[in-house]
């Protein structure tokens, strides 16, 4: 194989940026990282914190800005408008052509916008790009009092938090019976719904939007059931789809995302696809072919980089994990926890702290744990992963569960607490007394 001279990466998200740095660790080739969104790679996940004034854009840069020069990675702020696989070039929006020896596509996702009436009205926004923040900020200038967020996933709740902070009344319109019920088991979904209700958020279940009302500005939404809900702002967070339309005519195999083999290579030997825009041809058991989350994107960046440098590394989906935060309620999941648990799987669900926290163990009939889902508690990644990988029996996991505790020091350990509660012990009485005298010491849900 001739030495690689030119590597071009389209997309500077976590996948693309990781790939660039991982390639640089191994070889000396020229690396160009292209994005039309920001000058420096930043953490998209921090968009809500930028909006809320907790951090500013430079705080969210993935690496200090001098790293890129130091590692001799060429950052290019431009948009790619064409790909010529035969000539191995890409075309930029200013007409310039860049040639590549190896190309990495890390174009990420686009928000799904339903094709309905009123979707282009002012006051209708999605949340994915930095530019969306600008747009939302601009919309909020026009005295927004209430908002409906259509679709209740993880981005939806972030948008809700952003709006609540600005004093806007928020309702969620969800297709399912409760919040994010297509991903969370019922109890957890109910718990999140209760938590959202405490924040003054209304959940409108079993409804689907059919149109957005309004002439000059969004004034409400119309549902398929015929019901209407009035509001001044409509947030669309029904999901994301791979951003691949640019490549639809190039002969790359595309299903929903760009299809890749286990080395993350596409049907063109010189092109890799990673992150949200990539679709695995052969996903592992119980795993999706597109997993559009931060952690998988990062891992894919590492694997594609190794393969480009000739290492032949297979992308293993490994033990699934994800985490999020619903206002103050933290969520962590390890392994396989489907929303409906059916034989041969069973689940053991424990709540504590007056139903404000919970842990769920999903296990196989034969006894070994396949998934753990924690709400309001932090678990140790390595420990949970090892349990699931090694098919550890449930009773063993439960017995040693304190080993998985990752909460800040002095946080009561859940299972001791659970016992104390069931016995109505003196410790509990003492604690109640203390929290009666010093209400501020009461654990926040």
């Amino acid at each position: 194989m001739s030495p690689i001279q030119n590597i071009v990466i389209i997309g500077n998200g976590i996948a693309g940026a990781t790939a660039a740095l991982e390639i640089r660790k191994r070889i000396e080739a020229s690396i160009t990282l292209i994005s039309d969104e920001t000058e420096f790679p930043y953490a998209r996940t921090a968009l809500m914190y930028i909006f809320m004034g907790q951090v500013s854009l430079p705080h969210t840069y993935l690496y200090p800005t001098d790293v890129w020069k130091e590692k001799n990675i060429n950052l290019l702020k431009s948009r790619v408008i064409g790909l010529d696989r035969a000539a191995k070039t890409i075309t930029l929006t200013d007409g310039r052509k860049l040639s590549y020896d190896q190309l990495i596509l890390a174009t990420g996702s686009l928000s799904i916008l339903p094709d309905c009436e009123g979707i282009d009205l002012p006051g209708v926004c999605a949340l994915y790009h930095l530019e969306d923040l600008n747009k939302i900020e601009h919309q909020l200038l026009s005295n927004v009092k209430s908002a409906v967020i259509v679709g209740g996933g993880l981005i939806g709740v972030e948008l809700a938090e952003m709006l609540i902070v600005r004093g806007i009344k928020v309702s969620f319109l969800v297709k399912e019976t409760s919040y994010w019920a297509n991903a969370l088991p019922e109890e957890e979904s109910q718990m999140v719904s209760r938590h959202l209700a405490e924040r003054g958020i209304t959940i409108i279940p079993n409804e689907e939007m059919s149109a957005i009302l309004g002439d000059q500005h969004a004034t409400g939404i119309l549902c398929k059931s015929g019901k209407t809900f009035s509001c001044d702002f409509v947030g669309i967070t029904i999901g994301v789809k791979p951003n691949v339309s640019l490549f639809s005519e190039t002969g790359l195999n595309i299903n929903r995302g760009i299809l890749t083999n286990s080395f993350l290579r596409t049907n063109d030997d010189h092109i890799y696809a990673i992150g949200d825009c990539a679709e695995l041809s052969e996903p592992a058991e119980n795993r999706k072919s597109i997993e559009a989350v931060w952690y998988t994107a990062k891992k894919m960046g590492e694997v594609a980089a190794a393969n480009i440098c000739g290492e032949k590394m297979v992308y293993e989906q490994g033990v699934w994990y994800n985490s999020a935060k619903f206002f103050d309620l933290e969520y962590q999941v390890y392994g396989y926890v489907p929303n409906a648990i059916e034989p041969p799987l069973k689940s053991h669900y424990l709540t504590y702290a007056n139903g404000q926290k919970s842990t769920r163990f999903v296990f196989h009939e034969e006894g070994h744990v396949v998934g753990i889902l924690a709400m309001g508690a932090r678990l140790r990644h390595g420990v949970c992963e090892a349990w699931i990988k090694q098919k550890t029996p449930l009773n063993e996991v439960m017995e040693h569960f304190d080993k998985a505790n990752f909460d800040p020091e002095f946080t009561p350990i859940p299972f001791k607490n659970l016992k104390a509660q069931s016995r109505g012990s003196n410790t509990r009485k003492a604690r109640n007394l203390v929290s009666f005298i010093f209400p501020f010491l009461r654990t926040r849900p």
Binding site: A43, V55, P64, N134, V165, G382
Partner: protein, 437 residues
Amino acid sequence: MNHRSIALTDQVHPTSHTRLHFIWLALFYLGLAMQFFSLFDLIFLPGEWALGLSFILIISGILGYTLTIEHRKKITGQPLYTLQGNIRQKKWSAWLLALFLTTFYVLLYLRPDLLGLGKNGASNSGLIGLYDGLSYWIKGNPASEWFVYGTMYTLAITCLGIRVIFKFRHNRYQVYRTLSIIFFQLIFAFLLPEILQSFNKPYVDLKNFWPLNYYFFFDWNIDQLLASGQFGFFVLGWGTLGFLVLTPLFTYYFGKRWYCSWVCGCGGLAETAGDEFRHLSNKSKKAWKQEKYLIYSILVLVIVMTLLILISRMTGQLTNISQTLAHWYGLIIGAMFSGIIGVGFYPLLGGRVWCRFGCPMAAYLGLLQKMKSRFRISTNGGQCISCGNCSTYCEMGIDVKSYAQQGKDIVRASCVGCGICSAVCPRGVLKLENINQ
């Protein structure tokens, strides 16, 4: 696209202040104004009444204002920390506050007579005179400038500590830690030394170990302690035990935080009064380099100075040089660095400037922490989403994110273990812990 319009820092949340907040603020400023006017003897009330009223106004003002703000933040879902607001962005109000604080420190160290300290046996007037009543009540003597300073310092840590406890009531680490800070400041740093004085014992802060307490081995201190009999021997023994045995031992088990974030008054003030200025610490690699040069130079300096003083005590040699060194160390490091820059510049450089760049005790603890300690901040696998909250609010200027992204544990000499990185992490990636190896 214009990024500047994105809520970076320009906009203040519409829900931040209500009329009630202004009333609380007014009480606070009224109390402060009483202290200010007492400088010119313009308070026409009996001393005890004036001080009592002023304290009531200040305490109720601070607590009323900060607790209602924190409560409101909670019910409106505001984040724990924000970059927004004039005072957090080094704008005019920050400069004004810095000017006010530094002026106070300059007067305190260099011209206490302007604060009303009676010279040559004359009785106190002005601000210091205002505190005479309290001083007589606690120890039966008139107030000194240090009594005034100690009272204000304790008041700040206590009131703003209560605010921190209220703000972090969902996080027991922060609650216990702040209670500990308040306890050590109130009892060990403030009341105990004053009460000891009233029993004709020397003024000692038992938690203030050498080398932070740089004058521990100075002639006058040793003479004073030796002159006070058994108690003096106890203090000498305790102080030596403290830096030789207790410090390494506790640092081995708990890391430097046992002192810097649980006991020390300098750190305590930064954690309570400096809480809103955490983001101002410089996170650059250059600052890290400066930090290492400065803090270890000061540690070396304090060791050399102490050795010279002990040599001169025992042999009578080198007296001049050791005394000159002691004088300048006291003035430049002890007064100007720790006070004027360390506290006066809170709104410009962040709260832990002294702890990070100057404190010889922090340097000593840091070396122990780096080399031989169970303490670290663990990173939870690959779960960091690089949002940058941890690095932004690290008051010691550690780029926590750069470690978390790589799944590396954080073992840094400068980490004081305040736990804020872990508290602001939205994914539960960071945990302070003492690992039993």
